[in-house]
Amino acid sequence: MVKYILVLLMPLLMVLQAQAAGDEPLSVDKIVSKANKASYYAGDDGRSDARMIIVDKDDNKQLRQFVILRKDKVDEGDQDFLVVFSRPSDVRGTVFLVNKHVDRDDDRWLYLPGLDLVKRISAGDKRTSFVGSDFFYEDVSGRNPELDTHELIEENDDAYILKSMPKNKENVEFSYYQSSINKETFLPMVVEYFNDKGEVYRRMEVVEVEEVEGIPTVMKSKISNLETGSETFMQFRRPAYNVGIPESVFTSRSLRNPPREWLEAQ
């Protein structure tokens, strides 16, 4: 009987909750935090196959294929990434490991199999090309929201439009960026980067979103470099969340000996 009443009350409760949320507009910090969470902290961990096609202005195409593994230590806090490349042939066996920290510089390594070299990547070196694509290292592992000041400049029925200015301009090539964040999923669907002249020179667009285990997941995205006319298309396959990747996967052992049981789809 009690159960029956609860079932009846449930929709009412949800409506009330929704109204409460509607009454109190989200603060900018809350939007940024939810967007950060939706983009980089879905589930406690995750894996996905990924591939990129890099197209320059002359229509030359390059391919990159890899598996990306992630594990959160703290939601919206420290987390680890492992990226293992399988294509093209001269990049195969290259492994990228990130121990991401919120309160200090990330620790990043790149393993180059030809030299058996574990190369440490300089901490400031985040906005350089990720394996020759229009994506930056920082696009892959996420930019710390604390590095920018955020301002809500527009809100419509579907999206929050945020303007974000870097606190320290030295390590970034943009003057500010503007994100259009979907109100339902909190995924940033379009992010435009502006130069000193106030022109958009770089644009990230989400092209396809799918629900995976109830989590809205970006399946296809695209980065356009409007200055050079080049574009990179990123696509994911077989994403999975909460698969129980152990912390030991995100250590130097995986650089020389990638963890095959986690590279294959679950």
Partner: protein, 428 residues
């Protein structure tokens, strides 16, 4: 405009239209269908040419690099082990020979839950220096390095067993090389070198026919590393029991040979001030000449390295290193040397800088690596530019520029070897 676009994207529809859909499908294969095979193949063919910018009287021909090379890679992923092959076959027009080099032929597997084995021919690297080696006693190929082959070829393979165990307290790495494997050092065939006994450079052919250590268990090389990453700072201790990697010693009959050398060292590497620092030290113990008085055997040395790397501006990275080689028992060395005027300084130091500029998407990579020794008053500059046209085609040009005031110093002896090169590679 933005609103319907976002809604459509939410529904899984394309907002960029058919053109973008085509781009996403442009891989030209069905992603879902691949990866059925346990075998993976790849490789490249490469043509390379380089020549001297100076005249070396020992060589009529100015060519320092002229080759057509094929490189093949094959990997097999089994249930319980991996197999890996890397091999190069090339025609070397400088020495008129067809060469074969197996760079890797190994089996890897894991056991006991925490230990990785790699058995067979392989490349090994450790230490923190950038083109400076203190504790890395694995074989190097200096001929390739000075000729403008890809940097990868600086590391030479060895037949070895590598065992790496991961523990909570510390990771342990052991590389056992049953048969001593020397560097591929400058021997006069491609470049001349300074001979203290002759008092000048000699070359024109391979002039070094060293006396090798006997092949027995006692003469195998063993390299050990204990390492741990604590909060992003990497600490390591190193030990090596083996020989000089180059025939820098002389037998009583004045034949070049390799004397025992044990190495103990430590390093630390981590982030500081938006950059990366590294400190490394090593003691090279000349076992057969502990009092430093035997002129046929190189003295013991302390080696010290301090480095820092940082991004100066977007895509431009600067790395600097200070390196010291401190010869022990220096007075004994000078007192007993037949050619004291050609001995290195007691504290030979070298400063290096590496400037790297990566164009957007790494299409162009410009690099300038410079060694300068204030004590020897000599330098070695390696400019290079790499252009990646596509995943298949890559072009590289560069130079090896040596300069020295005196002929006997480390870089000074190679002044006439100064060369420029180009390479064209097709990956498949």
């Amino acid at each position: 405009m933005a609103r319907p676009a976002i809604l459509m994207a939410m529904l899984g529809l394309s907002l960029v239209g058919n053109a973008a859909e085509d781009e996403f499908d442009a891989w030209g294969d069905d992603w879902a269908e691949e990866e059925q095979s346990n075998w993976l193949w790849g490789g490249f063919v490469e043509a390379a040419y380089g020549q001297r910018l100076q005249t070396d009287s020992w060589f009529d021909n100015k060519k320092t690099l002229s080759e057509l090379r094929s490189h093949l890679e094959a990997d097999y992923t089994g249930d319980n082990f991996d197999f890996s092959f890397r091999g190069d076959l090339w025609y070397d027009d400088v020495i008129n020979e067809t060469e074969l080099d197996i760079r890797e032929l190994s089996v890897s597997f894991s056991a006991f839950g925490n230990t990785d084995f790699k058995i067979g021919r392989q490349i090994s690297t450790w230490g923190t220096g950038d083109l400076l080696f203190l504790n890395d006693m694995f074989p190097k190929d200096w001929k390739s390095f000075f000729s403008g082959r890809e940097d990868t070829y600086l590391k030479a393979p060895a037949d070895a067993i590598r065992i790496t165990s991961y523990f909570d307290a510390v990771n342990v790495d052991i590389v056992w090389t049953p048969i001593f494997t020397e560097d591929r050092y400058i021997d006069g065939e491609r470049y001349s070198f300074f001979s203290p006994l002759a008092g000048q450079n000699i070359g024109g052919q391979d002039l070094i026919n060293p006396v090798e250590p006997d092949e027995n268990m006692g003469n195998s090389e063993i390299a050990l590393r204990l390492y741990k990453n604590i909060e992003g700072t990497e600490y390591a201790l190193y030990g090596y029991r083996g020989f000089d990697k180059q025939p820098v010693g002389l037998t009583p009959n004045l034949e070049p040979t390799f004397y025992r050398r044990n190495v103990f060292g430590a390093s630390v590497r981590g982030n500081v001030l938006d950059g990366l620092y590294n400190l490394e030290t090593a003691y090279h113990d000349s076992v057969n000449d502990s009092n430093g008085s035997n002129p046929l055997i190189q003295n013991s040395q302390w080696r010290l390295l301090a480095g820092y790397e940082s991004e100066l501006m977007a895509r431009l990275t600067l790395g600097v290193q200070y390196y010291l080689e401190w010869t022990q028992k220096y007075d004994e060395l000078i007192a007993n040397s037949p050619t004291p005027q050609f001995e290195p300084e007691e504290r030979r130091n070298v400063i290096t800088t590496r400037l790297t500029y990566r164009a957007p998407k790494d299409k162009w990579v410009w690099s300038l690596f410079a060694f300068y020794s204030p004590t020897d008053d000599d330098s070695y500059i390696r400019p290079s530019v790499n252009y990646r046209l596509s995943d298949e085609w890559q072009f590289t040009a560069g130079a090896n520029i040596f300069n020295g005031q005196q002929q006997h110093t480390f870089f000074g002896q190679f002044e006439d070897a100064t060369n420029a090169y180009v390479r064209v590679r097709y990956n498949f």
